[in-house]
Structure formats: structure tokens, C-alpha cells
Symmetry: C2
Subunit: 260 residues, 2 copies
DNA sequence: TGTGGACCTTGACGCGCATCAACAACCCGG
DNA sequence: CCGGGTTGTTGATGCGCGTCAAGGTCCACA
């Protein structure tokens, strides 16, 4: 096991909520970062608020337990140990996403890692046993959000399988920008909470190669960077035209789903 | 658009069920190919039976409609048009899987294609509006199966991202064997309903490369073939040891989930 | 404001896989 | 039993990306 680069220092502190929950202010449904309120309200009522710091790994209770998490703000990543000492990032979770261990295969070292400081809420569905109406709503909404997660995973498969490395990187930045960025006309600016190696692990690339590709994209004028952790997509339209799959990215991650 | 090989002749016949449903015998829950009955019973009661022939493409109603399909027997594949003229296979559906367009991103040419003759059942959840108890069960079960599909997609991402081509092929054959094959001691025999190019499109490989890899696997004694469309895994244990991720494959696709 | 360590960039080089091309095996209907 | 179309196999070749190595840059913290 020889790693030429130092491993990212990912604090493995358990964040089981009980410890930090008391330090959280509770959220009224109007203060929620995402629209669609019903699910968030259920979590606010029956769940336990918790918080995770950047680089912290969430210990998601016991295996296969029925605890469900709602991400209220921040960015989470599903991580696992690939072959050798390579880590891989399998999914990115955005605010509003609902997640549980049932959604995940039993891979070695699998779990959620916070890419930014996060606020989330933890709940077990059995908490709804005494209010059947809420339980019904919850099941239906959970199904919808799980379906959306699935669609995103499929899209990621499509990207990995059919896109050139350069297009993959472009598509990734576009997705992140659409999700978390500020839109001004056709330009989007966003933070890059993932380091270069994180991005590489997510896109199934080498960190060195990723760096080269970023340089290429910048010199071509497709994207620009401010410091290390901020990216600017110069023209969403142009990028969408260049990258074949971007239409789907726009549909899944664009501003069409807020419905508000 | 120059394809050196002839395109696979995939008949684009619409199988919307109404046409073929009358020719189907209805299935009692005891005759079902998979265990777990409740979901299958709901489909048997409220759904429409339908059938697809090998290579047929299922036209899944209108976009985003709420029709849900249950695969009763056979093998389905989620297919889309990748960049260029390359087709890509994104997921494999096995008997017992429940599927709808909500699970899928809006990719070009996306849809289900039958790899073998299939029996399925089609239903819209609104059919359950008048029996709330069934609707509750349905939502809960649907959530479970969707979660399993998601876990499988994540596993596929992990395979694509972290496995060498050879391991990918081995893992694929193992999965198929575990799902559809006959087990004798440590040996499993199964049909290969996917052609070489199908497998290549699923594993993000070139058909030529796949052929070479198969030759290598055979000469190494890991697998054997009978004719073109039948494979034998010599030793599941050995293969599992060789291929890093196979533990998860065994857990998700092995004989642990029947619970009967 | 300086210093150490993490993070990023860039070059040289080799390997693995895609591509192209030709051929062999198989399948099906006659 | 034969012929044509489909599918699978194999060789030669080139390119993209991973790997290794050597700086350069940024940031946290004192």
C-alpha cells in the first residue's frame, strides 16, 4: 500500500446525532432550503436534527437499520473503498435528498462523507406508526425521492460509460453549478466543495489527468476558476451543446423541479 | 455515421399490452416465478398482463406517465443511445423487479428492451385508489424494490469505476449466473441471453476487447462456454476471491434474498 | 509574516483498450 | 445441404489515460 500522495484526512468521527442534536436550532418548514415542504415537515416533527462538519464521515447506525436521513443543507457524498487503496465516490447528495442504508450495496467501507458542513435530520419510519396519514404521505414521497436518486445514478452510469473524460468533467461542473451555483444570464458561478482528487474519484479519473483536463477546459474558455475552489461556467448553452448528455443533466438538476 | 458491423436488429414494435394482453393467461400468485407474493398479487389483481418477445423494445407509454411494470419472467435491459451511434445498456432487470419511467433520466432513446421472451404486468397505481390498505402495502413494497434497484445501480457504478475490464466481465458473468443459473456445488451454469456486443455495451467495453477478455478468461479456466450463448462459472468461490467487489454481488444477487 | 503540509500542476513514459480490417463460426430459411 | 446474413474472433496499430516524479501554489496556524 504505497500512496504517493497523502491520504485526504477524513475525520472518522461518529456523528450519531444524539451528541450534537441539542446544539441545533430546529427548523420551521418555512426556513427550509428546499421547497416541497411536506417531507421536510415530517422530518422536522419526528426526526432528530444533526450536523456534520466538512470531511466528517457519517456513521449511519448499524448495517441495514431502517434509519432515514434528510439532507437539509450542504453536500454529502457516498464513498467506498475501491480496489487497492483507491477510494471511490459513488453519488453526490444535494439538499432535499433522502437517504438510507437500504439504498446502498454492501461494499467495503461504504458510507456518507460530508463535503461541506451539513445540516441533516435523522428519523426512523417507525416513528410514524401512530399517524397513518403521515406514514402514507411519507411512503409516497420517499418513493418519489428514491426514484429521483435512481434516475441520477443511471445518468451517472451513462456519463461514465459514454462520455470522454473531458466531457465528463464538463458535465460534472455543469451539474454542480446548476445545483448549487448562482445563475447570471447564461453564466453560472459555484463553489467546488470537492477537491481535485475527490472529483477524480467521482468521475473515475486520475487526479493528474483531471488537472490536465481542467487546464484544457480553462484554456478553451469553457470554464474558469477563481482560486482553487470556485468555478465559473461561461456559457451553459454552449456547454450543453458540447456535451451530449447535458440535456438530461439540465432536466434532472436544473431549475425545473423547484416548482416554486 | 459509419457502422462497420450491422446494427443489431431490434424490432421496435410497440408492446403496449392492450394488443397482446388478451392472449395471456392470467397468473395466480402461486405460479409466480419469484417469491414474496404480496406485490405480485396486487399486480395480478389490478394489472394487465403483457408479453414481450426477444429483441422487442417496450414502448413505456407516454413520458413520465405513472405506469408501473412488474417483470414476471425473462430478462429486460434499460437501453439508451450514447454519444455517436453507440448504444449503451444501463441496467439489467430480473424477474421480480418493478420499474417505471420515473426511475429513469430523460436520455435520448431510453427504454426497455427484452433480452429474452418476457412476461410482465402493467399497472397504474391509481388503480388502487379505492383500496387504501393495498395502496399502503404497495407503496411500502415499491419503496423496497426501488431501493434494491438503486443499490444495484450503485454497485454497477462501483464496478465500472474500479474494476479492470477482465474483472468487470467476470463480475458480470457471476451476477448473471447467480441470478439465472443452475447451481451445482461450486459450479454455476447459465444462459447468456445478451450477445457479446450487448455485454460490451453494458460493461462499457468494446466488443472486440470483450471477445479477447472472454478468450483470456476461458484459457485461464475461470469460465467456460458451451456454444455461444451459455456460460459456466467453474468455481464461484475462486471467482469471488479474484474479483474485489464480488462479495457485494453475492449479497445482492445471491440466494440470500428469497427468504423462502 | 513565516513555515509546514496539503493540494495542484506539468512532463515523460508505458500500458491497456479502442479502432480498423479481415476472417471464421454460427444460424436460419430455402 | 447450401448460401447469406449475423455474430464472434484475432491481429496490427495508435491514442488516451494512468503512473511516477518533480516542482509550484495555496492555506492554516503560530
Amino acid at each position: 500500500m504505497k500512496t504517493q500522495r497523502a491520504k485526504p484526512s477524513e475525520s472518522a468521527v461518529a456523528v450519531t446525532g444524539t451528541a450534537t442534536a441539542s446544539s441545533m436550532t430546529s427548523y420551521g418548514p418555512t426556513a427550509l432550503p428546499v421547497s416541497g415542504g411536506v417531507m421536510e415537515e415530517i422530518f422536522a416533527t419526528h426526526g432528530v436534527a444533526m450536523r456534520a462538519r466538512r470531511r466528517q464521515r457519517l456513521v449511519m447506525g448499524a448495517k441495514r437499520s431502517d434509519v432515514i436521513y434528510l439532507l437539509k443543507s450542504g453536500l454529502l457524498v457516498l464513498s467506498a473503498n475501491g480496489s487497492g487503496d483507491r477510494r471511490q465516490l459513488l453519488t453526490i447528495l444535494y439538499p432535499g435528498d433522502v437517504f438510507s442504508m437500504a439504498l446502498v450495496p454492501p461494499l467495503d467501507g461504504i458510507g456518507l462523507v460530508a463535503m461541506t458542513d451539513c445540516e441533516l435530520s435523522r428519523m426512523r419510519p417507525s416513528a410514524l406508526d401512530d399517524s397513518p396519514k403521515e406514514l402514507r404521505e411519507f411512503d409516497a414521497l420517499l418513493g418519489e425521492r428514491t426514484a429521483e436518486l435512481h434516475a441520477r445514478s443511471i445518468l451517472h452510469i451513462a456519463r461514465l460509460a459514454s462520455l470522454s473524460s473531458e466531457s465528463r468533467v464538463a458535465a460534472f461542473i455543469l451539474e454542480l453549478a446548476l445545483r448549487t451555483g448562482q445563475v447570471v444570464n447564461d453564466t453560472v458561478t459555484c463553489d467546488l466543495p470537492l477537491s481535485r482528487s475527490d472529483i477524480a474519484d467521482y468521475l473515475s479519473l486520475n487526479a493528474d489527468t483531471l488537472s490536465r483536463i481542467m487546464t484544457r477546459l480553462k484554456s478553451r474558455g469553457a470554464v474558469a476558476t477563481v482560486g482553487r475552489s470556485r468555478a465559473i461556467v461561461k456559457s451553459v448553452k454552449r456547454l450543453s451543446k458540447e456535451v451530449p448528455i447535458c440535456a438530461a443533466t439540465l432536466a434532472l438538476h436544473g431549475r425545473a423541479e423547484g416548482a416554486g
